[in-house]
Amino acid sequence: MRLLIVEDDAPLASGLQRILEAEGHAVDVTPRGEDAVAAAAHEKFDLVILDIGLPHMDGFEVLRRLRGTASDKTGPTPVLVLTARDAIEDRVRGLDLGADDYMVKPFAMPELTARVRALLRRSQAHGGPRIAHGPLTLDTVARRAFLKGEPLELAAREWAVLEVLLAKVEKIVSKEAIIQAVAGWGDDLSPNAIEVYVSRLRSKLEPAGIRIRTVRGFGYMLEEYK
């Protein structure tokens, strides 16, 4: 994947570059917002990592211009915003301007790479018919699931729960959120019912090394496949 890092702190920028290159990406780095806007106008990046606190043109302005280009409107480039500030207004403003995710400095590298993977996966899956997670593949058009290439039988509700969890790998999804996503209008799903679907999913997926962690009193988290 082609990644662009816009960060004026040279040590941090080079660190990020090396980590993401180690993940197999082609990474360009620029310390200037103006250059980032110019580069994005000529080339299509799969992801932009954007620092808000840039000199001259700040990250918000860069984000605004990126979102304003014609090519971005057809297939928006995911933007992960980095900031040294954590004022809520900054966060809201960044997300309002179209940032896809937000990280406050400093952060652990595994966390950064996990977010980058999630963003790339989401943008690749965007409109795409197939979702992959380790040995698991979901064909969302045919509504068929495969595990290690073998067809996997999933009830409609199980499918729905799995889809919600797959959309947020490594993130806790609350039971309420699952109920909201799974239950149709007029359906009355209890949290206990969700537990039943998750336990059925576990018995089908765990033998293949796909783990769904229970977060006591809160919800579930589909772990990154290792």
Partner: protein
């Protein structure tokens, strides 16, 4: 009231002129009333004189005075005073009566004088005797008159006394009432928290106190500007630290991912831990700056449940690394507060619980409401905090002796300050399974 009492001062200022005015008033009222009364008493003496004069008999060469004893008895009788008389011929010879009774000087009709060692009033009456006139002097001691004068003086002084009393009462309560806005002002200032540097509302204050309120507000403004400046500095410093720390963390993690001698790796891991600790410290300093009294914090209606839920991912990663079962019991808990600070408070509590729990332990994050009070708390099953340490752990940089781990000793102090900045109370209680429950109870929202 300590120092110079405004009341006493006002009374000192007001009472002497009022007393002087009243005294003048009393005198002015006294003389017009005492005049007619004196005249009436004098008239009675004149009547006696005329009656006495009728008893003068004119002979060829002499004057005779024949006052029957019974009549004299009647004339001289008075309930209060002794009455004297003296009859003098036109030639100035004594005819009868008390010969030493002093006549009014010159042409005067009446005068006050002394007789037999007593003050007397003497009037002079002309009584016809033959072709000329005899002089009859009638004197009377002053008992009645003095009594009357005293009564009249008292009567005119009594209302004056009431007026003076009323002045006292009016000043006493008037000052109290007049100073009520000041008392309200001082109540308002007293009831403020130390960090409340908002200007005082001068709308209800009397115009005379405006300069005072203005001066106070000026001072408050200066103090709060200085405090803002300091907080800005601290916040900037903390923010500025984050970017280089992120670089440091990135490179140590990169280096750790590469093969290297064990000794090197151990040292690099120390560097990595120190980096993370420093980052945490920067966050904590930022939180302290924001929780500082008078900080410009952005308060809004927030739900503690949402705040806890929003951080669950980050905490879960930490708990997995330490093999701790992190659980949640989140009920809606709306409070008026600063979301950043509340998140930082909760993060500090969770971090502490994860840090000091044993591997395989259990940590539970709770939010909800009890009796209408929103609360947040974190319970662990770690070693707990001894009763006698519970106050001290709230001090900045204090760590319980012998505590493992790498805390800065700021965590609970920050939680306490954040609680205080929300007018909320922090608590440390025993946990259900050993360990402790640490949290914040918020006031009624």
């Amino acid at each position: 009231m300590a120092g110079r009492s405004l009341r006493a001062h006002l009374l000192r200022l007001l009472l002497p002129p009022i007393a002087a005015l009243l005294a003048v008033g009393a005198v002015v009222a006294y003389y017009p009333t005492i005049e007619p009364a004196t005249t009436a008493y004098d008239q009675a003496l004149v009547d006696i004189g005329l009656a006495v004069g009728q008893h003068i008999r004119v002979g060829a060469n002499e004057y005779r005075f024949d006052l029957p004893p019974a009549v004299e008895q009647v004339l001289r009788t008075d309930r209060f005073d002794s009455i004297y008389y003296r009859v003098i011929s036109p030639a100035g010879l004594e005819i009868a009566g008390d010969g030493d009774l002093p006549a009014p000087p010159g042409d005067a009709m009446a005068h006050d004088t002394m007789f037999n060692g007593k003050k007397v009033r003497v009037v002079s009456v002309q009584a016809p005797c033959g072709r000329s006139a005899c002089t009859v002097l009638v004197g009377e001691t002053m008992v009645k008159r003095e009594q009357l004068a005293r009564d009249m003086l008292l009567q005119s002084l009594f209302p004056d006394f009431l007026i003076a009393l009323a002045t006292l009462v009016i000043v006493w309560f008037g000052v109290k009432r007049g100073l009520q806005p000041l008392a309200r002002l001082s109540d308002e200032i007293k009831s403020r928290s130390a960090g409340d540097l908002r200007p005082i509302d001068a709308a209800g204050a009397p115009s005379e106190t405006r300069p005072l309120v203005g001066a106070l507000n000026g001072l408050l403004e200066e103090v709060s500007a200085a405090s803002r400046k300091q907080q800005r500095f601290l916040a900037n410093a903390a923010h500025q630290l984050r970017t280089p720390l992120a670089g440091l963390q990135a490179h140590t993690e990169l280096a750790l991912a590469q093969p290297m001698p064990e000794a090197c790796r151990a040292q690099l891991e120390q560097v990595h831990r120190a980096t993370i600790r420093t980052a945490r410290l920067a966050n904590q300093l930022l939180a302290l700056a924001r929780a500082e009294p008078g900080a410009r914090s952005s308060t809004a209606q927030v739900d503690l449940k949402g705040i806890a839920g929003g951080e669950a991912d980050a905490w879960l990663r930490q708990s997995l690394a330490r093999d701790i079962d992190l659980g949640f019991e989140l009920e809606t808990a709306p409070v008026e507060g600063d979301a950043f600070l509340l998140r930082e408070a909760l993060s500090n509590l969770v971090h502490n619980a994860l840090e000091y729990s044993n591997r395989g332990g259990r940590v539970t994050v709770r939010t909800g409401r009890v009796n209408g009070h929103a609360y947040l708390e974190v319970e662990d099953d770690g070693p707990g905090i001894a009763q006698e340490e519970r106050d001290r752990v709230l001090e900045r940089f204090y760590r319980v002796p012998g505590t493992p781990g790498t805390g800065s000793g700021l965590g609970l102090a920050i939680v306490r300050e954040i609680a205080a900045s929300h007018a909320a109370a922090m608590f440390i209680r025993d946990g259900a399974a050993g360990g402790c429950r640490v949290g914040i109870t918020f006031p009624h929202g």
